[in-house]
């Protein structure tokens, strides 16, 4: 009996490993995707270990040193210092924290409800359930995201939390639509019908039968969305509605430094480049994921 159970687990595990190996093969065929993945891994690790690897971790908090203010890049300060003497390099690494956190929280909050609603709407295609859900989705989609985010954040006090909340509110409709497209076309396939005729519960059909078939577009979109969310977060911070000082935030850093262009270019350019790098990395990985999930024809 135990033997059987062990053999069963071993076989399932072997199958999973094979699928991952095949996925990696398809992903790695495009060198750019691998570059993007490496960049992401480096950024995530650097962000996680920020306190340990940055030269001046204290500069991420309230710190001023006007004597060292406005210094150009040097060996001591790789990216130079900003107008109150804080090391830009350190603040960029810490700034990544908030960008990534923003992305994770927004997607975490926004994707799940969108996916669930999309599955339900797709399964009940043609009924009032679908109509209600999709029309509500349409309403949310009709509002331009930046405007709504601005409005909400301005209504509540500007803070990172509120920024996340505002953006998350805007994100779920896209996933709802995406999943609806896949699930509604899948709804009449024989394997779904079979589950229904067998007597499986609706929850089983939605989450065990339909959802695995939707994962590919969801994961790809999530990866590409990280870039968009980070950019949106940076834009909100740029206009002052995001994280408040002294919290290091890439968007705010760009805004502050912009006033000093072209003189002290390093306090704007490096944070800007950092934003570009992380978005590019996510996009490259997203493209790679699309290759992984593409169905091969032989």
């Amino acid at each position: 009996m135990w033997q059987e159970k062990r053999a069963d687990l071993a076989a399932s595990f072997a199958l999973r490993r094979r699928s991952l190996a095949k996925g990696w093969y398809k992903f790695s065929r495009n060198p750019l995707s691998v570059v993007g993945l490496v960049a992401l891994v480096v950024i995530v690790l650097a962000t996680g270990l920020a306190s340990y690897i940055t030269p001046y971790p204290a500069h991420a908090g309230p710190y001023t040193n006007f004597k060292a203010a406005g210094q150009p890049p040097s060996w001591e300060h790789l990216f130079g210092t900003d107008r109150i003497g804080r090391d830009v390099f350190t603040r960029v690494i810490f700034g990544y924290r908030f960008s990534l956190l923003l992305g994770i929280v927004v997607l975490g909050l926004g994707v799940a409800p969108g996916v669930i609603l999309g599955l339900i709407a797709g399964y009940h295609r043609g009924t009032w359930v679908e109509t209600t859900i999709m029309r509500v989705t349409d309403v949310f989609l009709a509002v331009p995201p930046l405007v709504l985010a601005l409005a909400i954040t301005a209504m509540l006090t500007p803070s990172l939390l509120n920024e996340m909340f505002a953006i998350a509110l805007l994100w779920w409709p896209w996933y709802c639509r995406l999943v609806f497209a896949v699930s509604s076309s899948m709804r009449n396939q024989f394997f779904i019908r079979e589950a229904e005729f067998s007597g499986a519960s609706e929850a089983h059909i939605l989450f065990r039968e339909m959802l695995p078939n939707c994962l590919a577009p969801i994961l790809t979109k999530m990866t590409l969305d990280m870039g968009i969310v980070i950019l949106l977060g940076a834009s909100l911070s740029f206009v002052g509605l995001g994280a408040q000082p002294p919290t290091p935030c890439l968007g705010t850093m760009v805004a502050d430094g912009a006033k000093r262009l072209p003189g002290e270019w390093w306090s704007t350019i490096f944070p800007a480049l950092a934003i570009v790098l992380v978005i590019l990395a996510f996009n490259l990985v997203g493209d790679g994921l699309r290759d992984v999930f593409a169905v091969e024809e032989v």
Binding site: K22, Y25, K26, E296, E297, V298
Partner: protein, 326 residues
């Protein structure tokens, strides 16, 4: 000289798991005015063969390892793009399994027929036909296929027609071009049996009239029996038996062919055999020697060593099996 000759064609595909060695010295011949059938089951390589002849193989992942495909002596695989284009315009034409995929849903039947007619006359030696003449020819082509009310059909979209009518349009498109060689890939598989019967009879009549050579690819023995004079049986990338259709069907010699014939349900009600044991081979690691040997009840040691040549088993009838090595 044969009209079409496939000589020792070896084609493979490169995929994640490795190299699929599909076609293994495939051989085929169609003479002028002849009607030849190519019968095989799923995965035997018949579609790869057709795609190679039409030169529409997806390269990569496909690759032609070796072999030639000669059309009137000229190698299709090494022809220039212009040469192939001329060939497709004037000499070769094709009908495929799914007429819904072969016809453009955005244009009416009339538009598509006219375009094809105009294109087939384009290129070198441009013939000028007036609009009225083109229209008349299109309607005549449709009428020839047994289409009811061709003038009205010219204005219909493919989605408005039934499966049988769509296939008639495809046949009209294919035969309006006065081509020498018609490649038909499972032309009636998707159709209802009464409609299939009508279409096959009509096709028979038309190719007879025009003297077109036909290569028909199918998995149905019954279709091949009605329509062809000679046939090939294909298994795992090679042709294993060929001969006159009636002879081959009445007395199949290769063990695979015999297994197939026993599996076909007969109207006499004698029951169906248990099929052929085993599965089609894995092309990543195909069996050595004769690719059928793992499933063959008459297997001998020599079968595992080398691929058998064609041995004569009757007049104009050969089988690639060591059982018949004299």
């Amino acid at each position: 000289m044969a009209l079409l000759e496939v000589k020792d064609l070896c084609v493979g595909y490169r995929i994640f798991e490795g190299h699929l060695r599909v076609l293994n010295r495939a051989r085929l011949e169609v003479d002028s005015g002849e009607r030849v059938g190519l019968v095989g089951e799923t995965g035997c390589g018949k579609t790869t063969t057709v795609k190679s002849i039409l030169r529409v193989l997806p390269i990569p992942p496909a690759e032609v390892a070796s072999g030639e495909i000669l059309y009137r002596g000229a190698d299709i695989l090494r022809m220039s793009h212009r040469g192939i284009r001329d060939l497709r315009r004037r000499e070769m034409t094709a009908i495929f399994q799914d007429p819904l995929q072969s016809l453009n849903p955005m244009f009416t039947v009339g538009t598509q027929l006219r375009d094809i007619l105009k294109d087939s006359m384009g290129g070198r030696g441009r013939g000028r036909l007036s609009r009225r003449e083109i229209e008349a020819r299109c309607i005549a082509a449709l009428h020839e296929t047994g289409m009811p009310d061709p003038e009205r059909i010219m204005h219909n979209y493919p989605s408005q027609l039934s499966g049988g009518m769509r296939q008639r349009v495809c046949i009209a498109e294919a035969l309006s071009r006065e081509a020498q060689l018609l490649l038909a890939d499972e032309p009636t598989t998707n159709l209802d049996v009464t409609i299939q019967d009508q279409i096959l009879r009509k096709l028979d009549e038309l190719v007879d009239e025009k003297g077109t050579s036909v290569l028909i690819i199918t998995h149905s023995m019954g279709v091949v029996r009605d329509l062809t004079q000679r046939m090939y049986i294909m298994y795992a990338g090679t042709m294993v038996e060929t001969g006159r259709t009636k002879d081959l069907l009445a007395a199949p010699r290769h063990p695979y062919t015999q297994g197939l014939m026993e599996s076909v349900p007969r109207l006499t009600g004698v029951g169906i055999s248990d099929g052929i044991p085993g599965r089609i081979p894995n092309y990543l690691d195909p069996p050595s020697g004769c690719r059928f040997h793992p499933r063959c009840i008459h297997v001998m040691p020599v079968c595992k060593e080398t691929v058998p040549e064609f041995f004569s088993v009757g007049e104009g009838h050969v089988a690639a099996c060591y059982l018949y090595r004299s």
